[in-house]
Symmetry: D3
Subunit: 159 residues, 6 copies
């Protein structure tokens, strides 16, 4: 039985917290798909192509990880990729509530897909892409928050 | 003593969770007013008229329920309708915090109106109008989330 | 239609927070039963008789309030008293979780009984019988926490 | 790569919520060990032998599930059984905090073991062994809360 | 050793809750800086100049309090003002999560600055500038929520 | 103006999380009193004398820190020691609720004493004395959780 795992997100940009979850999730199944959700109504900080590239650079050392982008419902993407397990990172109690609702809606729509939660590593428990964007926008140093490849991309765009 | 109860919300669109609260709230007093709050600064997904109509269709079996729309402060509407009790549904812990603040602000403004909370039925604890809109927008099936009359309206608008 | 409301608790001892909920709950229905749950496995700080007496003294001004003690399941007591609504006070987020579980278990056992929640008045949001017992045990002044009749009972027992 | 999963707990008694997690966790790896933690300082409601028997009866239909009891540290048991993944059920926000602390302490002690969380199915989100014991002790009906084999064991002991 | 304390916020507008924190924070160090964060991407309800003026009027009785506005990263402003302690007000559990993340991000960026939290006074625990704006916008009375000087400014702008 | 700060707790045993708060709290005022609350109704794991000794050993490098034990109400001890500020560590959302209640009860009893909260350092956010006791009791290694002097005391008692 081949088990494929999906880790969905916006990754705008990817953080060290995302990378930690990717490494741990890659050990939960035979194969891990990292899925970048495209929101056609909201343009991101980085383009989808830039996010694909940054994630590929950060995960080059993980042979069973594949990066892909998707539009539409998350569960449709999971079904199309043949993923039976979805991984979500959880950092704090407000995450819990939000994630709980999403997981329950998804379970109603696609009961065959299981959602599992990994707790963020303690030193990344505060990290969110929005904090990285905010610190970068205000001229702060983000190297403690993102992988080197992402730090370079951020440096280029804020020059 | 005639006790009138108010259940306010946006109902954009009404969900099975809303309908469950309406049915239970209609047994708490002699009469229940379901109040659709109009936000003049933000146009909704459905118009106020469509929401009035959908709610009337869903509650036709409840003789002591009245549907109405209002602008301005919720407590002014409660006072004008003669409602001494307001009902709010609560689903999760982040609801709790938000609802707590609203209830306390309302208590400061109108101490004579009591706010009571009903817990969402477990199978609807994740349901929010925003999830229905999101699933519909992405082409998913919403029939497990809304009353039949609402599902038809959604089908018409997303054709 | 006569609506009877039940407000259950341990009331060991009754606090100003309990009294506030009693006054507000007494306006939600025709009649309010305040039910003291007897735990046969744990002896209380005050005896059940003392708690009955203190609650009767504190609620003498509320003609539609009845004080009673009960053993066994809460919902059996509600059914026996003919109460269709149960009132619970909620103070904080940990209350929320606990109360949510109790309410859902009760709903499974007795779907015809509705549980409604009232938020503790802000100045009593920290108050719990356990805090009153602790402050009294350590020699502190509890007059800001309990009705006068209860303060006298506490003074007598800690002499 | 053979992946063994551990689902630890007290199971005093096993509930329908536990059984749901067991069924879902059994699909996350090649093999699932359900581990009953023995607390040498506190005697349970059911003996460890009774809990082993009840869990074996409830999981007879799941060929890759093994029931075992253990003393001492959970992570030592996981290491001894060769389990690289631990599963925990999560029901509510207070669970989250407690589970978070346990998971972080375990990660410090045994970084090679991953803890994953499954959300309780909505209709079991209130269920805890303590509620089952309480309802049974007070003479209530527990058949909506536990598998038939457990309901029989409870009926025998409360006769 | 001169200890300077920073209390940052948007103060759009200042509320009685802010004023309470300012008074208490002014006693935690030799000197308190109240810092109005300027968001260059979002225009406020009141201009930064109006907020400076309102805060100065409200704190005229506190000789060791200074009001200032800042752009850019909060910790850069703290370092430039020589503040070793930052004060944040906390009202509720969702504040907790948000504040926790901000505090941890700031600690990573500037470990020498300590963040301390004060709990909102109970009667202001629901108060937020957004509630004041909402009530004012809908024609409600805000005098129970803000200092007199702020109520006057609001009255002038909503005429 | 000499500002004295009090950090109260059970410290049974002191953890690295406690030590971190002590070091940070010692910089908030001229002098820090670490107060060990004696519970006359419950004997601890370590005696009060052992806890005094362990805390003195761990804080020998902090010249402005004094260790003391107290019986009775915390605020009476604060008043007797002349402390105008109390420090509490906060780790998670359930701490928040508990601490909130204690802080509000103390404010009612002694409005002149301010309670400030410090967030636990991320790597200690799960640490509690109870976890240390549990791990030690089950034969696990506690050296990652407590200062060396405490690890030695634990090793001696569990031989």
């Amino acid at each position: 039985m081949l088990r494929k795992v999906l880790y969905p997100g916006s990754f705008d940009p990817p953080t060290l917290g995302h990378l930690d979850i990717i490494e741990r999730a890659s050990r939960l199944g035979e194969r891990l798909v990292v899925g970048i959700g495209i929101n056609s109504e909201k343009s991101g900080w980085f383009s989808v192509e830039e996010r694909l590239e940054m994630l590929r650079a950060c995960t080059a050392h993980l042979p069973n990880v594949e990066i892909a982008a998707f539009e539409g419902l998350l569960i449709h993407f999971a079904q199309q990729k043949g993923c039976s397990v979805m991984v979500r990172g959880m950092r704090a109690v407000t995450d819990f509530d939000y994630e709980f609702r999403i997981a329950m809606a998804n379970r109603t729509l696609a009961p065959e897909i299981e959602t599992v939660f990994l707790l963020a590593r303690d030193e990344y428990s505060f990290l969110a892409s929005s904090i990285v964007r905010e610190v970068a926008r205000l001229g702060g140093d983000v190297t403690a928050f993102v992988p080197p490849a992402v730090a370079e991309s951020i440096a280029r765009r804020t020059v």
